[in-house]
Structure formats: C-alpha cells, structure tokens
C-alpha cells in the first residue's frame, strides 16, 4: 500500500495537498493555542481556535473526503483501518475543538480562566495526541 501511495495518480495530488496543508495548519495552530493559554493569553488562544483551528479542520476534513472519493476507499469492504482511524480522530476531535473554543471564549471573558482554562488545555492536548495517531495511521496505513 505504501509503495502504491508513493506512485499515486496525478489527479489525487490536489486533494492530498489540501488535506496535508489543512492538517499542518490545524496542528500548528493548536500548538499556538497551547502556548498562548499556557502563558495566560486566553484571548489569543480563543481567537486562534476560532480563526485558525476550526477553518483548518474544515479544509483538512473536506479535502480528506475529496481524496477518499477519488481513491474509492469508502467502497472497500471492510474499510481499511487507517481510513477508520482518520475518520474517528477527525470527527471525534471536532467535538473536542468546539467545546475547547467555547471554554476558551468563556475564560477569555473572565479575568481568570480557572477551570475553563485547564479544560481548554486538556481538550487541545487530547486533540493533538489524536492527530499524532492520525499522522501515524495515514503514513503507515495499517490494514
């Protein structure tokens, strides 16, 4: 599968590029959220989640669906494990990111974040760990 991936058809390249670009921006902006909130800059953390993280997630997920339709991986029975891992981490993490955005927004409106700040950090950290698992699944493609 990996060697096949190394010599993929040309018309898969644009959706793959957008998928990787969206995923890179997603991970990069999540790290910015962590550093901002760890430094008590709750406003920057909230804005980054709203302006960068959620839009990056959309780019990553839409492009993932695009390339999945080109590769017809959804039609395979059973669906390959790496595809299932990709879907479950991306869709599961969206819920975490939405809750993290709400927590960060509420924390930013208060003088002190307290539990909301900690909740945001934990949710973002869990999402980042999930994305490392997704990168592993996308690159090693376990069947």
């Amino acid at each position: 599968m990996s060697v096949i991936a190394a010599i993929r058809p040309d018309d898969w390249n644009l959706p793959l590029f957008l998928h990787i670009l969206g995923a890179m921006l997603l991970v990069g902006s999540l790290v910015l959220v962590v550093t901002a909130i760890a430094a008590d800059n709750l406003r920057l953390g909230f804005r980054t989640l709203l302006i960068a993280v959620i839009p990056s997630w959309i780019v990553m997920r839409v492009a993932a669906q695009w390339i999945a339709s080109k590769e017809n991986v959804d039609d395979l029975d059973p669906t390959p494990a790496w595809v299932d891992i990709g879907y479950s981490t991306s869709e599961g993490s969206l819920l975490l990111l939405i809750v993290a955005t709400i927590c960060a927004g509420l924390a930013a409106r208060r003088a002190r974040g307290g539990g909301l700040r900690t909740a945001t950090l934990v949710l973002v950290a869990v999402s980042l760990i999930a994305y490392v698992v997704a990168i592993w699944a996308m690159s090693t493609k376990p069947s």
Partner: protein, 125 residues
C-alpha cells in the same frame, strides 16, 4: 522500515508547520508570548533537521527514487533557502531587530509551501 521513516518524516514536517503558524501570527501583528516564539524556534530546529535527514534516508531507501532526481534536488535547495531565512529570522528576533522580519517570514512560508508542493506532486518522478 519505510513506514516508520515516512511517519517521522511527516511528523517533522508537521513540527515545521508549528513554526510557520506561530511566526505568521507574529507577522500579522499578534503580540505572541515569548514562550510561543521559543517553541516556534525549537520546532524549526527539530523539524528542519528531521525533514532533511529522514527525507534523504527515504530517497536512499526507496528504489523508486534517486537522490539526484530533480524534485529531490529542488527540495534540498528549497530546504537550505528556508533554513537560511529561518536562522536569519531567529537572529533578528533575538537581537530585537524586527525590520523585514514579516517579509522574510512570508518568503520562508512560500518556500515551505513550495517544499510541500514538491513532496506531493514529485515532478519528474
């Protein structure tokens, strides 16, 4: 072996993206905390070395590719351009000289995007 190399090569590329995102925030005028810049600079060091070493290792490991393929040579050249810009940016930020920092960052971002284009399209492969 190929899978492991590719995973860590990709992971290193994602670490590079952390630097690009954090410096983009600085370039558009966000007062990023000093800790964020420290993380961004260390990510540039680790991600840069990781992508280069693991990328060359992959090119040598796979029979489909040759280290002297045009797209691989192009990627190595772009890597050196991005690294030069990155080192210069780090020095300027450390000395408080912020002139041209934003311009240099956006050029570096374009170079990194160029690297991603080469890695996906692999022209001539």
């Amino acid at each position: 072996m190929y899978d492991t190399l590719l995973f860590f090569h990709l992971l290193a590329a994602f670490i590079l993206a952390v630097t690009v995102v954090i410096y983009s925030a600085v370039a558009v005028g966000v007062p990023a905390p000093g800790r964020a810049l420290f993380v961004a600079d260390r990510c540039w060091d680790v991600g840069g070395l990781g992508t280069l070493i693991l990328g060359i290792w992959l090119a040598l490991y796979l029979d489909e590719y040759d280290i002297f393929d045009g797209w691989i040579i192009g990627a190595i050249v772009l890597w050196f351009v991005a690294t030069g810009l990155g080192q210069s940016l780090q020095r300027r930020m450390a000395s408080g000289d912020t002139t041209a920092v934003a311009t240099m960052h956006w050029i570096r971002t374009l170079v990194v995007l160029g690297l991603l284009v080469l890695m996906v399209w692999k022209p001539g492969a």
